[in-house]
Amino acid sequence: MTHDILFILPEVVLAAGALFILVCGVFGCRRWLLGFLALASLTLAFFVLPGGSNTASSAFSGMLMGDAFGFAMRIFFLVATVLAVLLSMGYRWQDDDDAGEYFFFLLVATACMMLAVSSGNLMMLYLSVEMLSIVSYVLAGFLKRDIYSTEAGLKYFLFGALSTGLMLYGITLVYGLFGTLNLADINARLALSGVYAPTLILAAVLVFAGLAFKASIVPFHMWVADVYDGAPWPVAAFFSVAPKALGFALLVRVFFGSSALMHSGWPGITAVLAILTMTIGNLSAFHQDNVKRLLAFSSVGQAGYILAGLATGLLGLQAAFFYMIIYVFMNMGAFASAALLSPNRMDLAAYKGMGQRAPWGAMFFTMFLLSLAGLPPLAGFLAKFLVIRAAVEGHYFWLAAAVVLNSVIAFFYYLKVIKIMYMDKPASVKEVAISRDGYLLLAISCAAVIGFGLWPKPLLDILAVIFA
């Protein structure tokens, strides 16, 4: 029994921390202190993490399984949330109430994600995804007096409810076919029978719909732009990083992990979806004049690249997850710098002449945008290079060509923002101050982007171990 408790100790610590913050929030602590508490509980969870999980065991009678992939993803989510918390502390909120609840939701969301990624049972998976969704609806609609945020919350809820409904129905059909919800047994029975009943395809598509909604893959990406646009900056940043990564992690866990599904038509279809995601994401961002929507569509484009990695076999899996790790830092950095440079005005005109008004901030923002676009010395290029390499190695030439074509289109709007910052005259010449936490976050992400760009060996070794 102690083994089970140890396994989920990090989540428990997070939940406890969240409750504690909730209580402090009620007693009127300021946002900075609550943020610090959140960071404390996250680091504590981080240190507790390795205690419980030796890689071969499963806990709670099959509910959770502790493999290397799950372990790595749990660290990934902790790091992502640390960045999100830092951004929330550094960001200038209009009104300062409900800070306690905000961090409560953030930590609870992280706990759900960590549980979801290490869940070995479809029921547990569904419950944690549902929990994450509910918390996200509330986070999206957090600024209850702002018409945009509430509209975003509602849109997210409506879209999310339908998707999780589809996923649930898919899971019931899976239960109907296999009589059990335990992933390990399902994979075993699948490999055994090999008969690919049409019902399983129906179930697979429905479950895929649910997860694809989270990972913003094309037919299910419509909500991304409106929700990111409406939600407050830190929430949008968090959405673009953590839940999206969870979506891809679960896709790997359910679909690409088991070999049975792989040899059927899936890789071809995922490749087509990847191309669609990239192209529609990049094309929609082409003429955007609202920075937030531009970054939202760019994150859809990036999701396309990650999916392209997933579609091309083992080498592709490593490339996709390397891309995802780099994507966290790039995207969080980009969202953070956009948020810190002009928190309330989101149209591109607000960023005119930012080169003079906030030289360091503009430099960081340019760095992240260029990394997102895939300029060589930065990590973004290496990530894209690995995806292309996997695509060519798997003989998906048109996929590699699509990635290349999309990065040309993507370069256009990333460069448009840079151009506006450096080449247009600023409306007002007053200096733009960025808070200390903001600079800390930007520094960390920048260090990661440049560091992994120049010396990616340790990361690649870890991924090789995970996907051996």
Partner: protein
């Protein structure tokens, strides 16, 4: 002694750099630097000549390039032709530079003029000393450049600038022919040294084409028929320049090249035949135009083209000695005529011979020397012109082709005619000048006298009295050494009749009613300039404008359109996000349905 030959070319080159670098500070001194160096070059030339007499030979300097595996080495060639040309060029060059001290005295860019002259001397001497075709080509272009710079020396005048450009471009067209000839020979694996040009490897047709192309280069430089249009326009430059470049030295380079490659040309009779024909046509045409032009310098320019035509004719018909001997003598008396014309213009401030007259009484020295030059050119007995033209008469007669001989006679007749007309109009008769005229200073008339002496005496070298000294020196192969008396009488008669004709028309103004259309054609220079304008210049400009428009409109617009198209579909895709939730839900459910249909169709082939 012979090993110092390369200094002949290097000294003027140093003078050029000195004058360019410290031009303004030197002022008058720059003239003495350039004259000094050319005098030293002349002395060196004499030393080399003596060294050659004592059995000196050509020597190599350094390796330069390896093309197609063939190492090309630079070297200096010493043989009779080079020595003779070195002497001619240095002597004439020095005299002209002395003359131009006076002629260019008032000019603001005085030092720059002498810098260019020194550069020209360096390139010309380098051209003569080069022992392989590539090195010759390099100096060949250098000479072309100097002629362009000197012609456009007074670049304030737009006509001078245009003439300079025209000169360089036309000679450059010829040089492209020479370059292609070199490329052909190189591609066939021959080394370009003159020594082994006689035995050229490669298929007969290609080598013949190379020979023709090389002759194209010679035509460009010596202003032969198709590429002659630049020489008359080049008269815009100072007269000293015309004398040096467009009479004595540069234009002779073409003939020198044909003479230098004579062994190569002899091996290909077709090319030799072409040389003769082009020579004939140029001679006839230029002579006819000269008869009707009224500008003193243009008459002499056309006369130069005509005489060069004769030399080419001589070489073409196997008269190696005739061609080279006439080349030497022509350099002297044509330089004399130009300098004489220069001093006349310097004094009378006009170039139109109809506006001059009666200068004989006022400018005694210039007139006498000018008349000696004219008689030499016309080919009258004691003067050098007669002997060299006699050699040509023998060569053409010996060759046997009647058409060539008839053309030769016609050209000599016309030569005598226009020279006599010029002398009569300019120096005799009533003075039609407004202001009074006074003799040019000694610094200008001095060289005239020396040149007159040369024009008179030089011919004797080839005459029987010196029992064929020149023929032996030039190692002539053909055996017609002795004076062919009937040929001499015939040429003298032709010249005298030409002079009488001029006398009748100018003094007695007798009207010859025949061939009016030929006269009109000659006046308009056979419309060659207009032809080139219509065939080459205007279409080239039109092509350029069209291609510029094409470049801007088609390619540029295509590129911009690609950007616009991507932008448009970006706009279209963006329009899908209408913000209406029911559309989003529909897209999602539709997506699920499409996925289902697609996968079921693909995997299980249910449909």
């Amino acid at each position: 002694m012979v090993k110092l030959a390369h200094w002949i070319s290097v000294l003027p080159f140093m003078a050029f750099w000195l004058n360019i670098m410290f031009g303004r500070k030197l002022g008058k001194l720059s003239a003495f630097i350039s004259v000094g160096t050319s005098v030293m070059a002349a002395l060196l030339a004499v030393l080399v000549c003596m060294g050659f007499m004592a059995g000196g030979s050509s020597y190599a300097l350094t390796g330069w390039l390896t093309v197609n595996g063939q190492p090309i080495t630079l070297g200096i060639i010493i043989d009779s032709l080079t020595v003779m040309m070195l002497l001619v060029v240095t002597i004439v060059g020095t005299l002209i530079q002395i003359y131009s001290i006076g002629y260019m005295s008032g000019d603001p860019r005085y030092s720059r003029f002498f810098a260019y002259i020194s550069l020209f001397m360096a390139s010309m001497l380098g051209l003569l000393l080069a022992d392989n075709l590539l090195l010759l080509y390099i100096f060949w272009e250098g000479v072309g450049l100097c002629s362009c710079l000197l012609v456009a020396f007074w670049y304030e005048k737009p006509a001078a600038a245009a003439a300079g450009v025209k000169a360089f471009v036309t000679t450059r067209v010829g040089d492209t022919g020479l370059l292609l000839g070199i490329l052909i020979l190189l591609s066939l694996g021959n080394t370009l040294h003159f020594a082994d040009m006689a035995s050229v490897k490669g298929p007969e047709s290609l080598v013949a084409l190379a020979a023709v192309l090389i002759f194209l280069g010679a035509m460009g430089k010596s202003a032969q028929f198709p590429l002659h249009t630049w020489l008359p326009d080049a008269m815009e430059g100072p007269t000293a320049v015309s004398a040096l470049i467009h009479a004595a030295t540069m234009v002779a380079a073409g003939v020198y090249l044909v003479a230098r490659l004579y062994g190569f040309f002899l091996a290909h009779p077709l090319a030799l035949q072409m040389v003769a024909c082009v020579g004939m046509i140029s001679a006839l045409m230029a002579a006819s135009i000269a008869c009707v032009t009224n500008d003193i310098k243009r008459i002499l320019a056309y006369s130069t083209i005509s005489q060069l035509g004769l030399m080419m004719l001589a070489l073409g018909t196997g008269g190696y000695t005739g061609g080279t001997f006439h080349l030497m003598t022509h350099a002297f008396f044509k330089a004399l005529l130009f300098l004489g014309a220069g001093s006349v213009i310097h004094a009378a401030h006009t170039q139109d011979i109809r506006a001059m007259g009666g200068l004989f009484t006022k400018m005694k020295m210039t007139s006498v020397t000018f008349i000696i030059g004219a008689l030499a050119l016309a080919g009258i007995m004691p003067f050098s012109g007669f002997w060299s033209k006699d050699e040509i008469f023998c060569a053409v007669w010996h060759h046997g082709n009647m058409w060539f001989f008839a053309a030769l006679i016609a050209t000599s007749f016309m030569t005598a005619f226009y020279m006599a007309r010029l002398v009569l109009l300019a120096f005799f008769g009533a003075s039609r000048l407004e202001k009074d005229v006074h003799e040019s200073p000694l610094v200008m008339t001095g060289p005239l006298v020396v040149l007159a002496a040369f024009s008179a005496g030089l011919g004797l070298l080839g005459s029987p009295w010196c029992h064929g000294a020149f023929q032996h020196f030039i190692q002539a192969k053909d055996e017609a050494i002795g004076l062919n008396v009937p040929m001499a009488i015939c040429s003298t008669m032709v010249s005298l009749s030409g002079i009488m004709g001029a006398y009748m028309i100018v003094v007695r103004n007798v009207k010859f009613p025949t061939w009016t259309w030929l006269k009109k054609m000659a006046v308009n220079k056979y419309y060659v300039d207009e032809l080139y304008e219509v065939v080459f210049v205007r279409p080239f400009q039109r092509i350029c404008v069209v291609s510029a428009v094409f470049d801007g409109a088609c390619i540029d617009r295509a590129v911009n359109d690609v950007g616009r198209v991507v932008g448009a579909c970006g706009q279209a895709v963006r329009r899908i996000q209408t913000g209406m939730i029911d559309r989003y839900l529909l897209v999602q459910a539709g997506g699920v349905l499409m996925l289902l249909v697609f996968i079921l169709g693909k995997v299980c082939r249910i449909f």
